[in-house]
Amino acid sequence: MSTPQAPSTLGRPPWLLVAPGVVAAVLLVVPLVTLVLDTPWASFGSQLGRPEVREALAITAWASFVTVLACLLLGTPLAWLLARVEFPGRSLLRAAVAVPLVLPPVVAGVALVTALGRNGLIGRVLDDSFGLTIPFTTTGVVIAHTFVSMPFYVLSVEGALRASGERYDVVAATLGADRWTTFRRITLPLAMPGVLAGAVLAWARSLGEFGATITFAGNFPGTTQTMPSLIYQALQTDPEVARTLSMILLVVSIGILAALRNRWLTTP
């Protein structure tokens, strides 16, 4: 971490930047503060003890963990292909990969139904040939999360791969390394900041995922009900419970994020 420049050399920050910046900060911070203030903290423990809440937390944690794993194992090679290999339709594929970023999550869910639903293009084959149905299962939750989270990961890693450039790869090749060794020993270590940032982004996206999950995988305690689905359902009857549940999700996410930051993200 570099320390900021001495203010005297650059002058005072212009208020044209400071004022909108403050407005943005207020907009982002105030709702979080009021959520904390409005949470009935007395019931925090008893809510956390409810089996429904524990199940939803477990599903959310599991789904986000598998999502990150899927991003690492599948997304890294895709990012590498997009950054390093010339093939026809590459720019088209890159654009397609980015589409889920702008897709409303509910639409992502509808799209998944058309592909993997029981009457979907692939889902029908899975059902007829193997008796596999994906909607209404925890696997469906993981697939929905991976679908919406992967673009964040792939774009982050691809950006890192492009930024580090091909020069070191070329040097490694001239020294006799094959492409797999180069990827493992040179390319991937150089792209590590992008890999970590992408993994955290994908994980965060998965934790908060709601629309695609409820549309594609459904909502049932113990199998497909994630924390956001449970919060939405609680909002129908008891906003106080919904606030407590939101706070539980917030505390858990910030806790894990802080732990990750301390362990990995600060070390280059």
């Binding site: 029981r118 409820i214 459904g218 909502n219 009900q225 359902q233």
Partner: protein, 249 residues
Amino acid sequence: MSRRHVTAVAATLAMLLPTAACGTQDERATITVLAAASLTGSFTELADAFEAAHPGVRVRLAFNSSATLAQQAVDGAPADVLATADSATMRSAEAALADEPRLFASNTMVLVTPADNPADLTSFEGLDSAAVSYVTCVPTAPCGAAADALLTGSGIAAPPVSREIDVKAVLARVTEGEADAGIVYATDARAAGTAVTTLEIPGAATRLTTYPIATLEQSTHPDLAREFVELVTSATGQRTLRSAGFGPP
């Protein structure tokens, strides 16, 4: 400070102003009706009739789960009329009601399957099998509460595969063929037409749900809101509801 800077700041400030301010000068009066998802078809028709009878008045409809709408009404949502699928959800909105709720329709629950009935269901009791995937509303919604009571009444222990937020979502799962069956209102089954096959639920007639309607405290057009309630409870309104499959209140 340069003129351009002033413009930039003004533009920033303008963005912060609530956009809701637009339309207050509008001559056209708009009333907003919050209605249970099962009323989608019939209330759309009634809103058109209301607009035809009141030139210059627009009826905005918001359909959702009754529980969600009741909650929104209590939270001060800018709306004029609330119509829910049972009295329990209407009572939960008591603080926001301007007058006594009036009952205007009733509905029964039925079991629907996709048109080709992939699980070959022939009766409601057929749901009690691990091989059959069925969906219901969340227990907090009237359709979910009614479904749970009927399932318990028939001694069905197999749980649904999913709890949907409102009855239209349940119907969609069935018409898309994602679930083998769903518990919906008779009116939804009728609205779906040939896309579904309908099966009776034993005891459903003894568990009618009745729909109340009321005007809201926060209404900015209380007269129009009352007139809309009048229309729904009038002979014309009742005819529309009856043809959609609703029973008398």
